[in-house]
């Protein structure tokens, strides 16, 4: 598989060096930018495959960079934030970011996130618009409105099926609670978020073989959920 091109946006030199050194050691191609305006320029001129974006930039707010890039491109954006408040991540995710990393992060974590995103890129490129979604043992037949695990049909409630479809359509992307409840119920009430948690728990029981180390659906406490693209 071709190693993707990565745009690293980070104003702090040691951290930028750490990231680029890691990327170099693992044979990724990369370009780097030190501020928001540069980042937008590099993104438009080089069209990278993945963007690693620090939220605290000296000139433009990271969220604004995401919004500007989203006006023309769907390229995956992984946000790096030193702000550990959940609402910053949620804001970035709702603006269109795909994933997030919180400082301090380990090199392993960074590489894992990149691999997840790469897999997602590969899958969206290969099976662009089929009526059947395939992910490991999980398959969803959108036309028939059925989901299967290891070829066995799953008995899902209408809401569970809706959630599963929503997650599969955005595989690899962290979806915030607000986003999901908006899509499922049309409104994001507090009670809906609690309901969502319960539905997630029951859905997971039906599709995961070991619910406390989930294979398909990841929980991001305080943020949201994500469906992982399984190899």
């Amino acid at each position: 598989m071709n190693k993707p091109m990565i745009l690293v946006v980070e104003d702090d030199t040691p951290v930028r060096n750490l990231i680029t050194m890691t990327l170099k050691a693992h044979d990724y191609k990369y370009i780097s930018a030190q501020n928001g305006n540069n980042a937008i320029m590099e993104a438009s001129s080089h069209n990278p495959d993945i963007v690693l974006l620090d939220l605290g930039l000296p000139d433009v707010d990271g969220v604004e960079v995401i919004e500007r890039i989203r006006t023309w491109s769907d390229m995956p954006i992984i946000v790096i934030s030193a702000r550990s408040e959940d609402k910053d991540k949620i804001e970035a995710l709702d603006a269109g970011a795909d994933d997030y990393l919180t400082k301090p992060f380990s090199v392993d974590e960074l590489l894992a996130r990149l691999r997840v995103t790469q897999r997602r890129l590969a899958s969206t490129r290969s099976e662009s618009a089929g009526s059947v979604f395939l992910n490991g043992e999980l398959s969803i037949d959108y036309a028939a409105g059925c989901a299967y695990i290891s070829g066995e049909e799953l008995h899902l409630t209408p809401i569970e099926y809706k959630i599963l479809c929503l997650l599969s359509a955005n595989v690899g992307k962290v979806l915030t609670h607000t986003f999901i409840t908006q899509k499922i119920w049309g409104v994001a009430w507090e009670n809906n978020v609690a309901s969502l948690r319960v539905f997630m728990a029951t859905l997971r029981k039906k599709i995961e073989s070991a619910p406390n180390s989930p294979q398909y659906i990841q929980t991001h406490v305080g943020v949201g959920y994500r469906m992982i693209k399984v190899e």
Binding site: S84, P104, V193, V198
Partner: protein, 622 residues
């Protein structure tokens, strides 16, 4: 001079006289000149009941005028004006009294001593300033006697008088027939007049029936019978004595009646104020105090009373400094103490509020305002106490942190220096050790920062953390995922629960609690120990526990283990990083969620840390 160090307190006596405003003015000027306190006193006497409407109005104008000039208005009631003034002066440490004095002298030998003379006798220490009052019309006293009674009460009184006199005459005729002496007859008549003055409201009846009684006696019983003349000269004396006796008994009875009425009013006032006080003592917050003010005013005036929340009206009130009324006839009474306005009540009165009600109303509202002031003071004090406590905690925290930051930082920077300077002389084994140390130290710093962030998230107030209904299993899984990397020699196991358990919590903070508990278990148990995380639902609580099979917690440590900066062996010294923050933080986080945390022994060995969270039931939206 001895008196200069004592603060002057000027008292002005209020009356309904038109010239009273002049007296008030003079007193106000005096108070300003002396720089002393200024009080206006109104003594309510039984006679005030019979005051003409125009007099009442004038009195109110005078009261308001005194308030405008900055006086504190007080009302006392009693028969003896001089005594009341003297008593009030003594209790309020009044130094100077300003009062008016009529220049028109009452004539006659029954003349009472002047008010000023009585006052001088009763309170010889008091400085009395007399302002001549030329306009008092002495005949007003007589006008009052008859004017205030309505036709109906007069008719009723007359009916009673006629009946009583008829009964008395009948009894007396009976006595006469039985041959009793005249003295018995006179007694019966006087008894009848006593009855009349108790039963009838009108003073006119009492006077008339006194005269009528004497005439009747003369007409019916004194020879020649059925004529107003008499044969014996002595009878004229009898008649005069009888008339006098009738007058005196009647007036005494009336006075007793008035007294009873006044003391009933006084006790009503006392009761109302006492009730208000008791309610205020029980009131928990400002809202309740306002409710009491409104309810008690309503009870007193029996009309529509609301709390005034109109900002414009309130600012108007605070600039006026007294009650105001608007175009619609609504009256606004302020709740204020020492220039601070706390609010106001709006009264929609359908009748006039008289001086008596007004004085009670002002006392009630004064009490409420005082309660509001106390409440505010208590709140401020509490807030500052909390602030001080937080300040102390913060200072302790900073001290502990700066100490605990230095150790790993020294190790990291030292190790990096070593690698930079003499990289080549270390053999690979040593270098790997150095790398590992650097990583461990920075990870330790990361944990510290996470805990500090949780402290800052806990924020100022205790109950201000944001909570949502979270799945307990999600939170446990997250905490385990984040500690698993450090658990090289340990085994971490989660006891699954089949039920879907939701608890109201701030997920970040509870994850932090679990991480701290698991980290502690990792730190204080030997390699190979097993750490088990369990959770189960109680009726309205959820129990989450972290259990290890290490050495356990010694009993003497258990009570102090959740204290801030307590680090086991009791040495906060340089030993090793053990910021005694972890468990204390856990405790304050769990407490802020309304739960509790405790440590018990695990059998056969080890410790079990358990905490509770409020359970949440969720209505599923399909």
């Amino acid at each position: 001079m001895k008196r200069t160090d004592k603060k002057e307190h000027i008292l002005v006596c209020l009356s309904s006289a038109p010239s009273n405003s002049k007296i008030i003015e003079t007193a106000a000027k005096m108070a300003a000149a002396f720089g002393g306190e200024f009080t206006a006193l109104y003594v309510q006497t039984p006679a005030c009941e019979r005051m003409l409407d125009e007099d009442k109005e004038r009195l109110e104008v005078n009261v308001r005028y005194a308030e405008e000039l900055g006086a504190t208005v007080a009302t006392v009631s009693g028969d003896n004006v001089a005594l009341q003034i003297a008593e009030f002066s003594r209790l309020s440490s009044i130094t100077k009294v300003v009062m008016g004095r009529s220049v028109v002298h009452k004539k006659g030998f029954l003349k009472k001593p002047m008010l000023t003379e009585q006052l001088i006798e009763l309170a010889p220490d008091l400085d009395i300033y007399i302002i001549p009052d030329t306009s008092v019309k002495p005949k007003r006293q007589r006008e009052r006697l008859f004017s205030k009674t309505s036709v109906l009460t007069v008719l009723k009184g007359l009916l009673i008088s006629v009946l009583m006199l008829a009964v008395a005459s009948l009894i007396s005729l009976g006595f006469c027939y039985m041959g009793f002496t005249d003295a018995n007859v006179i007694t019966v008549y006087i008894l009848a007049i006593l009855g009349i003055s108790i039963l009838s409201e009108s003073r006119l009846c009492w006077v008339l029936s006194s005269v009528a009684g004497v005439l009747l006696f003369n007409f019916l019983f004194i020879a020649p019978q059925f004529s107003f003349s008499s044969y014996k000269d002595g009878y004229i004396v009898t008649l005069i004595v009888m008339l006098t006796a009738s007058f005196v008994t009647g007036s005494v009875a009336l006075r007793i009646k008035n007294h009873a009425r006044q003391s009933a009013k006084a006790s009503y006032r006392t009761k109302l104020l006492l009730d208000t006080n008791q309610m205020l003592a029980k009131a928990k917050d400002a809202r309740e105090i306002f409710d009491i003010a409104v309810n008690q005013t309503q009870k007193l005036l029996s009309c529509d009373v609301t709390l005034c929340e109109d900002e414009k009206k309130l600012s108007e009130l605070s600039s006026a400094g007294r009650n105001i009324s608007d175009e619609a006839g609504k009256l606004y009474y302020p709740l204020y103490t020492n220039d601070t306005l706390y609010g106001a009540v709006a009264v929609t009165a359908d009748k006039k509020i008289d001086a008596f009600e007004n004085s009670i109303l002002l006392s009630i509202l004064g009490e409420c305002a005082l309660a509001l002031e106390n409440e505010r003071n208590a709140r401020e004090k509490e807030a500052s106490a909390i602030l001080a406590e937080q300040e102390k905690l913060r200072a302790n925290l900073l001290r502990a942190i700066s100490h605990d930051l230095r150790t790993p930082l020294t190790s990291i920077s030292g190790n990096a220096d070593n690698l930079l300077a003499n990289d080549e002389i270390f053999d690979p084994e040593v270098r790997r050790q150095i790398y590992r140390d650097i990583r461990d130290d920075s990870e330790w710093l990361t944990r510290l920062v996470e805990n500090l962030l949780s402290v800052s998230r806990m924020g100022e107030g205790k109950s201000e953390i944001e909570t949502t209904a979270e799945l307990v299993s999600d939170v446990v899984d997250e905490a385990v995922a984040r500690t698993e990397r450090n658990a090289e020699g340990h085994k971490i196991r989660v006891e699954q629960s089949d039920a879907i358990l939701l608890a109201k919590m701030n997920a970040r903070l509870i994850v932090q609690v679990l991480i701290n508990l698991i980290d502690n278990a990792l730190k204080y148990t030997p390699d190979g120990s097993e750490i088990v995380i369990e959770y189960y639902g109680g009726e309205d609580k959820i129990f989450i526990s972290v259990t290890d099979n290490g050495k356990g917690v010694p009993d003497e440590m258990k009570p102090r283990i959740f204290d801030m900066f307590y680090t086991g062996a009791g040495n906060i010294a340089d030993s090793r990083r053990s910021l005694g923050l972890g468990l204390a933080l856990c405790k304050s986080i769990v407490n802020a969620h309304g739960g509790e945390i405790y440590v018990t022994d695990n059998l056969p060995s080890g410790a079990r840390f358990t905490f509770t969270l409020p359970r949440e039931e969720v209505n599923i939206c399909e």
